[in-house]
Symmetry: C2
Subunit: 615 residues, 2 copies
């Protein structure tokens, strides 16, 4: 099978437009004091431009880059990463187009546009080639840290070069013994007479830790200043360029950041996952982010929403690509007669999309993809509104920011778990063809598996949700969302088309409210084991509630559009089908799955370690 099939990335712009304009209504912010230089046409033009880049530039490299992975080459400064051929040209093109800087200030060459628009742009960039886009994503994340916390000098030194793609960036948190327990980091920083710090330590799993796309790489390194407290409180954030910067901004001497090796991974094989050694020759210098010590974790935490939303978008991207690949295959592939003729050996063969189980599989994928996209765009639109109302209407700003906080663990964990699930279904729809490399869906499956692990495992997300977010602002964030859903239920429960589905949503929100009370009870009684054991389950149920709500909201909008005489019959009817399918097949089980928690099953806590197995 030719590589053309394999590398075919697909994006559904009409659906993206729906999420941006009909659901999130981002054009409400195309006003003075908001995104005043934007309109719907410019937004859609950016989507078109991104799709073209994804289809023609980065997408076609995806399968080839997966085969090849990253290579190592010798250099005077030790081993260096060699990315697959074509990445450098794609990188330059990406920054020439400015597609990563939609929501960036004009001062740094950005377009001062909506985060919500950047979300769907990122979806296409990462969907077309996740590995390639990791380098840009990490660079953007590091630049955001600098923009938020850097001193004026730090910003002027680094920011323009990073946002322009001249220098890359990384986040260096993990160490061999400090993964989820980031506070166990032992990388050391020693203050020098001139105010700089010397760094010593090893970081692992550093995405984009080395590359051959840029002339420099700026590492954001969590380290402990000599004498600082144990745990996360003693961690500081250091800016550690691979090559030092001279006073005039030109590149200086190698900064003793050496590549210890790259990992051989299940997926995202063209994203270099590096072991980095800092200060092996006692010559690695870093500067304190913002000039403040022991603030590293706080700084990281404040950027976490963007980083975790980005992983949710990665999930969305591969889920969507896998779905559209399966849909295309199902329309093309003929196999067997229709179910009505299953006994007739001479009946005409039909495309497999005609088979009920394939349609069920496709509609499940469609509903989940659209649901995750709704959440991702909604979060970014809340970010945009929080920013818009800042200083104008603090209560509104706090509401929107609160929704961001509440929904981020959901988009990260549900988005990543379901990406894997959707890709699995896509493989199954392809049958044997799904298991071979030619069609690309097995790559979606492999690539997507890391999303549930990095940027805080999905259990960490679920603990963030149940132990922090549910009670944030005295529970107001949660109550606002639940109230919004309940109001929607009230408004639509008698709808002739959607009423039954909406009633199911109403029962789900009740079940979730009950589950929340249960978690509060456990927390109050100090039953932390139960909180932890059921946190993942709760996150999944709450995610499904949100997805169910957003799909039904979309269906109500679609119904109104059809009633208003829209000619896009297939598109809007498709929205109704997704919502109804989800409400009939997923939501009715919320109650029973929540009720399981009432049993307070502690068998996993009380079993002895020895009883797990005899091998």
């Amino acid at each position: 099978m030719s590589n053309t099939l394999r590398n075919r990335y697909r994006a559904d712009l009409r659906e993206m437009e729906f999420q941006l304009f009909e659901m999130a209504k981002i054009d409400e912010l195309f006003v003075p004091g908001g995104f005043e230089n934007w309109n719907k046409e410019t937004s859609l033009a950016v989507l078109e431009q991104t799709r073209q880049f994804a289809y023609e530039v980065s997408g076609p490299l995806n399968g080839y880059a997966d085969e090849l992975g990253c290579q190592l080459a010798d250099s005077p400064e030790g081993k260096r990463v060699v990315t697959p051929k074509g990445f450098k040209e794609a990188w330059d093109k990406l920054f020439e187009l400015g597609l990563t800087n939609i929501a960036v200030d004009a001062e740094y060459g950005g377009l001062e546009g909506p985060h919500a628009l950047q979300v769907v742009v990122e979806e296409m960039l990462t969907g077309a080639n996740t590995s390639f886009n990791m380098y840009a994503g990490l660079t953007f994340g590091a630049a955001e840290m600098l923009a938020a916390f850097g001193t004026p000098t730090q910003k002027s030194t680094f920011l323009g070069n990073m946002l322009g793609g001249k220098w890359a960036g990384t986040m260096c948190l993990t160490e061999p013994n400090a993964g989820s327990d980031v506070g166990a980091a032992t990388t050391k920083a020693v203050k020098q007479a001139d105010g700089r710090y010397k760094l010593y330590g090893t970081k692992i799993y550093i995405s984009g830790g080395d590359n051959d796309l840029t002339e420099n790489i700026v590492h954001m390194v969590l380290a402990r200043i000599e004498g600082a407290p144990a745990g996360t409180k003693g961690l500081s954030l250091f800016i550690v360029p691979r090559v030092r910067i001279n006073a005039d901004g030109t590149l200086g001497k190698f900064n003793d950041v050496t590549l210890g090796g790259i990992e051989h991974k299940m997926g995202i094989r063209a994203s270099a996952t590096c072991v980095l050694n800092f200060g092996e020759s006692d010559d690695c210098y870093g500067e304190l982010m913002g000039g403040v010590a022991n603030e590293g974790i706080k700084q990281m935490f404040r950027m976490m929403n963007t980083a975790r939303l980005a992983v949710g978008i990665q999930g969305l991207a591969l889920a969507s690509n896998a779905y559209l690949a399966a849909l295309s295959y199902a329309k093309d592939r003929k196999q067997g007669p229709s179910i009505e003729n299953f006994k007739d050996a001479n009946a005409p063969k039909v495309a497999i999309i005609q088979h009920p189980d394939i349609r069920r599989s496709l509609l499940e994928m469609k509903a989940k993809v659209e649901g995750i996209r709704s959440i991702a765009v909604l979060i970014a639109a809340h970010q945009d509104r929080a920013h818009f109302y800042q200083g104008k209407d603090d209560e509104k700003a706090a509401f929107h920011q609160g929704q961001v906080e509440l929904l981020v663990p959901i988009v990260k964990a549900y988005g990543s778990d379901q990406a894997f699930r959707v890709a699995e279904i896509a493989v199954q729809v392809h049958g044997g063809a799904g298991y071979i490399k030619d069609y690309g869906v097995e790559q979606d499956l492999r690539d997507s598996k890391i999303f549930s692990i990095y940027e805080g495992t999905n259990h960490i997300q679920s603990m963030d949700l149940v132990a922090r977010k549910l009670g944030q602002r005295g529970g107001m964030n949660l109550m606002a969302l639940a109230g919004e859903i309940q109001a929607f239920v009230e408004e639509h429960k008698d709808d002739a088309t959607l009423g039954g589905a909406v009633a199911t949503l109403g029962a789900s929100v009740e079940a979730i409210n009950g589950a929340v009370m249960r978690f509060m009870g456990w927390s109050g009684e100090g039953k932390l084991g139960l909180v932890s054991m059921f946190a993942n389950r709760f996150l999944e149920l709450m995610s499904e509630l949100v997805v169910g709500y957003l799909l039904l909201k979309g269906a109500a909008i679609a119904k109104a559009a059809l009633a208003g005489g829209s000619t896009e019959k297939a598109f809007y009817e498709g929205k109704i089908h997704s919502a109804v399918w989800f409400a009939r097949n997923i939501l009715p089980t919320t109650g029973a799955r929540a009720e399981v928690m009432a049993q307070e099953d502690d068998s996993a806590l009380t079993i002895s370690d020895e009883a797990f197995a005899s091998a």
Copy 2:
């Protein structure tokens, strides 16, 4: 990380012994007329011997073989497959030990032992190295066909050489346009004056279609004799050796079976998945299996139970290996303080097995692995009993054979789906380490994905269950199983330890009975779309019922053993914990998930093809 970690296969012999002797009670058949040369000691000795082979011979090749995959080399007869170094030596050792021939007649060098014992032997062989064991598994399957349907001459020509590992075997069904729709096969057979047939056609996805382990390969080829009817009814089975056999049994001329290529796959990368061309030079001869025409599908169908059970065992094998790897990792890997001390940066770090969500993950894996093993061993024990009672007590024989028929689609589909799920959890328990090649669980995940696809997709299994098996023998197979579960519920519902869990099982069996009525109703009303759309869901629910039952039955046995003063406290308590966890966390949702079907959701049927997406 060194390869030693990666290649570490693990098997829990005590648990296997429990399934064989305490659950399936295979020693009841160690009697005259049964397996009269066997006893518990010889059985356990075979398990020990197999484990040693798995740990020392085939297991250590697994990671390396995955990296390398199969290669191609030139030969006078076109391209040939080169398997990874070490496979040939392992192959010879495997047949020297006779581990594949436990249930084979002595006449062919077999040990005349229980199928149930062969199941756990196969579990270890495939768990240690799935790719390697595919060659042996396909050879055995082809030999079984010959043993069942071959003429005396065919048996004497092929069987000894195949069962002895001198010649390999394959099953050649799939063609580019005949996958799930096997009746669409176009490979042609033309009768010659001498009674032989010439074959013409291309088969794809042929596991072990070529290899360098044996001097010959005997292909079982489904083909259509010129003039035979369309569909499955016109298919005949041909024995097509790669190299012809002379009258004296020595090897003759090349038989024009050429290798068209091998697939590049997500997993089982050292199993050669071949395109085979038959008769490209008009010189490929085959003989009719058993000398009968148009019986190919019937012959295949009669062997299908063994083949599908084998895939279930593959799922079991990788699920078990992934579970035991995760358990080992969780005991070794230290990360963070215990949940009680989570705020104390100076608290001692604990092994991650102490964290509640890790324990929950491990117990979920344990329960599923033990449940699938119970089903697999139970099926084989039913096979053994069906054989034992044949001609002695036909009613008993029919009962046991009926249970085999009913449970086979369950072990194949649930075993394969859950293998993937368990491997996914194992990756998650490993965190970032799970995503890199060093620990091997990502290989389990990749290798296991094919199990839901080949040997009849899992949807085909679910249709086999709902459309054939539920109504088989007038529903007696199903009623017998449901009756057995209900009797168990009656007996144990007041048990102090297990009563609550057993009551949940009772509710599940009611829910399943209701669902069966629903399917019968739909079938009666010709609502085939609903049957097909909910078949997978039903299979999953019924599988969970069976798993829940068998785990609780095991727990009751364990409880009795503990009450009887057994010193194996940890082992037996572990059985109780698995069962209780499953009954409290999975079974309570059966009712709600079955009730979904009552909504008769047809949104996937009524959505138009165009409404799925605009891309």
